[in-house]
């Protein structure tokens, strides 16, 4: 079997070298500067050409609470979180006992020598780092010492597992934006630890890194950076927002790329970023801008989405384009602010009181976060509707390998907008113009923008009942006609999305078993499918990338004997949406819903499906 088994690899270790196929957990205290050490390790492995993924499992806290970072290297290219890691860097005394207990047989524990920790497990290897002694040898000013202490484990890891120091230095420099002084200070500590291990410590474990050539041409980026960059290239003119984890870094990234939107002639910008007083105001601002034809977006998470629900209903009903990113975290309520989730899907698909059905895009990769970043604006303008992008903390805040992003394939599409000339010819052709007249039969009217210099251009936008001429109406027939048109529009959106953002489908196995999912579960499912195949369970696969639900889902369900809908929320929300839309029997469809706050593992997927397939 060529595939590393997520269930068995941990327990089947021997002293045969294990190269580029293992995972670390780095346990530290929040705010101790470990983010730098971990980023540098991930970047170095990436630069060595080894497929790698780093995940930050952090607390909702500024300083002191425990935080874990997992780094997985996989020569097979697997990037999902590992159920168990072979190595732990136990640098947090508060959690060390538990962290060490979690190690598999033949695991490795790296911990500070200063603790004089009892080596109670005989089935693992302990390595001790004399943190205090090493730090005493540096000439680093005492103010900085605490902040660079974590670099001692970087040096230990580098020596033990064969990471070249010069490559670590390159990654350090990149991390500090080329500032040699900061990089040198950190490097001094790394080198001291490295040299200590080289001279004094005998390697007693089988794990080792070796350079590969699997990351050439790839990039390492977070989903929030990718989404921000996509929005910049999508022509966003206004980002109105209110800080909330885990979406804040998306707006931070927009700000960092904002210079790309400076008009060289005037030195003026075509993009403003406004920090609003709350999410209500952020949503109001993007509606105001979208109404004038500008491209506007916000980024938020569950609690912010709750506050935006009234404006979302208005945008749906008054038909105003805008883009809302939901970097989903655990709810209900404040929930777990720093833990990942796919638990907002039902809420945002139906966001707004009354009969509302919102468009949702669900990126699962950084390439998609970039693409949906720009495409969401085209879809919003063409559908004259809000577009939600349901990302999550795992995609948004963690570093992922990705192919370099593809420049938008089409020019900016603003949909049905009538300028002075357009309005003239529309009236010539149809005798009159009304904002909500459906002359094309696709549910999408023609809009004029404020500032249009034509005596008939103005209309009154409202969240109250209206007729095709956009005038106030309380008549039942007008109401029904309007709702029917909005439903035609939903069908138009479904067809458009099915064409432009079709589901990812793999039916190459021609299997009886089908797996349906969305978003960031793909790495775990990919790995699980390989493993299941090795156990004789072939599976087909479909990943939904947009709502309203594509009709391909119906075909997929009908053409498989048993279907599992795998998702990372507690209630099986995608499965619920499928059951609403899918008219045939669903007896053979099973919801596999997790929702434990952590990125999904192949282990869990395999366990669930094996239990049901009985093999």
């Amino acid at each position: 079997m060529v595939i590393s088994s997520p269930l068995e690899s941990a327990s089947s270790l021997t002293q045969t070298p294990i190269i580029n196929d293992f995972a670390f957990t780095v346990a530290t205290q929040n705010g101790s500067g470990s983010q730098t050490s971990n980023n540098v390790l991930v970047k170095t492995l990436f630069d060595m050409g080894i497929p790698v993924n780093g995940k930050n499992l952090f607390p909702s806290n500024i300083k002191g609470l425990p935080t874990w970072y997992t780094i997985r290297a996989s020569k097979f290219g697997y990037t999902a979180r590992r159920y168990q890691t072979e190595i732990v860097v136990a640098y947090n005394p508060d959690t060390a006992a538990e962290d060490i207990a979690k190690l598999p047989e033949n695991g490795v524990c790296i911990l500070p020598a200063d603790w004089n920790w009892t080596h109670s497990r005989t089935d693992i290897t302990y390595y001790e780092v004399p943190v205090k002694d090493l730090m005493a040898k540096t000439d680093i000013p005492s103010d900085f010492k605490k902040r660079v202490e974590n670099m001692t484990y970087v040096g230990a890891v580098a020596q033990l597992f064969s990471i070249p120091l010069d490559m670590i230095y390159t990654a350090l420099l990149a991390n500090f934006n080329g500032k040699a002084k900061a990089a040198d200070m950190n490097m001094q500590v790394i080198r001291l630890a490295y040299e200590y291990f080289e001279a004094n410590v005998e390697k007693r474990d089988p794990y080792r890194f070796e350079p590969m050539d699997e990351t050439r041409g790839k990039i390492l980026i977070t989903g929030n950076e990718a989404g921000a960059l996509g929005s910049i290239f999508g022509g966003v003119n206004l980002v109105a927002w209110y800080p909330i984890t885990p979406s804040t870094s998306l707006v931070d990234a927009v700000i960092s790329f904002k210079h790309l939107r400076t008009d060289p002639e005037t030195g003026k910008s075509t993009l403003a970023v406004v920090q609003a007083e709350d999410e209500l105001a952020a949503a109001g601002m993007i509606l105001g801008a979208g109404w004038t034809g500008a491209r506007a977006m916000t980024a938020t998470s569950g609690p912010g989405i709750s506050l935006m629900s009234e404006f979302s209903g208005l945008a749906y009903f008054a038909e105003i384009p805008c883009v809302i990113w939901d970097i989903t975290r655990m709810g209900p309520s404040t929930g777990l602010p720093t833990r990942t989730s796919q638990g907002d899907l039902l809420f945002i698909h139906f966001l707004g009181h009354g009969d509302t059905r919102q468009i949702v895009l669900m990126p699962g990769t950084c390439e998609e976060a970039f693409e949906f970043g720009w495409r969401s604006f085209d879809i919003a303008d063409r559908m004259q509707a809000p577009v939600f992008v349901a990302s999550d903390l795992d995609l948004g805040m963690n570093n992922w390998m990705a192919e370099p992003f593809q420049y938008p394939t089409e020019p900016i599409q603003r949909g049905k907008v009538l300028d002075e000339e357009g309005l003239r010819s529309f009236i010539e052709q149809h005798g009159k113009w009304g904002r909500y007249m459906d002359v094309d039969g696709d549910g999408v009217g023609y809009r004029t923008l404020p500032g249009t210099d034509h005596p008939m251009a103005a209309y009154f936008t409202r969240g109250t009942g209206h007729n095709p001429m956009a005038t106030y109406s309380e008549r039942s027939d007008d109401w029904i006609e309007n709702m029917q048109r909005l439903h035609r529009k939903i069908e138009t959106a479904r067809a458009l999305l099915e064409k432009e953002i079709p589901p990812v489908v793999d039916v190459s196995a021609g299997a009886e078993v089908g797996i349906i999912t969305f978003g960031t579960n793909e790495p775990a499912i990919d790995e699980a499918r390989d493993y299941l195949a090795s156990r004789g369970i072939q599976t087909d696969y479909l990943r939904v990338r947009a709502l309203p639900l594509p009709s391909a889902v119906t075909e997929f369900i009908q053409s498989h004997q048993r279907v599992y809908v795998v998702e990372n929320n507690f209630d099986g929300q995608l499965c619920q949406i499928i059951s609403l839309e899918h008219k045939q029997s669903l007896e053979h469809v099973t919801s596999l819903a997790l929702g434990d706050g952590l990125p999904m593992t192949a282990h869990w997927v395999v366990e669930q499906i094996v239990a049901r397939e009985g093999k």
């Binding site: 403003a272 109001g284 105001g288």
Partner: protein
């Protein structure tokens, strides 16, 4: 453009500045304000497509449908007009905006947005049609209702009122005025000045509710307003041509000491002829204490209460291109393929 007796300088009749028919109660103060907006825009020769009308929810917020029928309008959510106005003027900084709100809309559910839009100095006219009562829900007290006031359905009001002019000044407004819907001349001159202001211009207009709050004992009633309004000054706006650019302004002669000249950003001069009190609107502390004093005396002072040279607007703070973004060529809204390649290199 030629003028006739019946058209303004851009050749439109007053009729062409009207909106649809009002559905408010006959005699509502709000309708008088709509009429003043119509007259002001007509007199100034405003091109309606350059204006957007915005509002929240409530009786007052219905009124943008009743004036400037050739301007785009947006009747948004309760208390949220300021954020929508902010977005609209950031989405197209070439637009001007007239927004209408009520005392419930601004003083209760929207108090936060009211203060923050002022703080950001979004350049628009913010009219509050203040009647101290919730009309559409049949007569509850609003946050501007007088302490001790009695209403038929709700009995006595035990809470002190929020003074929206005071709130505006404290929030950093650079143009704060108060008027009475029955005072057509003053409302019009304040609107004229506000339309030329380079920042958020707040006009709190006491506008009696003929159905729920017109008892002579209420400070928001017609009889009370007529008796207790103290106009601080007579206002005259001497303006360069709104459409065709600046013309020389000749200032008529007033007696020294009786006239305050307020120079506005676009070259307009607002002449304030002192009446009842010695009030200089350029003095923030004096404006605050005048409002305090009036509240204690159960009076309301009207006119331009506070004015200062406006600071940067939000679009200026953001160094925003003065343009309608939807009409810009793609190259200004989307960086080049090379720019993407350059950024991507940093992530390799």
């Amino acid at each position: 453009m030629g003028r006739t007796a019946k058209t303004n300088k851009i050749g439109l009749t007053r009729e062409e500045y009207k909106g649809s028919k009002s559905t408010l109660c006959p005699g509502c103060g709000h309708d008088s304000i709509s009429n003043q907006i119509i007259s002001t825009a007509y007199e100034m020769g405003i091109e309606q497509h350059r204006i957007v009308k915005l509002s929240g929810i409530g009786c007052s917020s219905k009124t943008p449908a009743y004036f400037l029928g050739r301007s785009h309008g947006f009747n948004s959510l309760h208390g949220r007009m300021p954020s929508v106005a902010t977005g609209a003027l950031m989405g197209n900084p070439e637009l001007h905006a007239i927004a209408v709100s009520g005392d419930g809309d601004t003083g209760s559910i929207g108090l936060g947005q009211f203060k923050h839009v002022i703080r950001r100095n979004v350049p628009f006219v913010y009219v509050i049609e203040n009647n101290g009562v919730y009309g559409l829900t049949k007569g509850q007290f609003s946050a501007t209702a007088d302490e001790g006031q009695y209403l038929k359905y709700y009995g006595k009001n035990h809470m002190p009122p929020i003074d929206l002019c005071l709130e505006a000044i404290i929030a950093g407004a650079t143009f704060v005025a108060r008027s009475f819907s029955g005072d057509a001349k003053q409302v019009q001159s304040l609107l004229q000045a506000a339309l030329r202001h380079h920042g958020t211009a707040v006009i709190d207009i006491i506008s009696p509710c003929v159905t729920f709050n017109n008892d002579p004992s209420s400070t928001k009633s017609y009889p009370y307003g007529k008796e207790h309004q103290i106009a601080l000054h007579e206002i005259q706006v001497l303006a360069p041509d709104y459409v065709e650019g600046k013309e020389e302004i000749t200032i008529p002669e007033y007696d020294e000491g009786e006239v305050i000249e307020v120079d506005m950003h676009d070259g307009t001069v607002v002449m304030l002829k002192r009446l009842a009190q010695d009030h200089d609107p350029r003095n923030r502390l004096q404006a605050i204490s005048a409002l305090e004093q009036a509240q204690r005396d159960n009076l309301f002072i009207t006119g331009l209460i506070y004015y200062e040279e406006p600071r940067q607007t939000l679009a200026e703070t953001e160094n925003l291109l003065h343009a309608s973004f939807a009409r810009l060529p793609d190259r200004l809204n989307r960086p080049s393929e090379q720019a993407l390649a350059d950024v991507i290199k940093n992530f390799m």
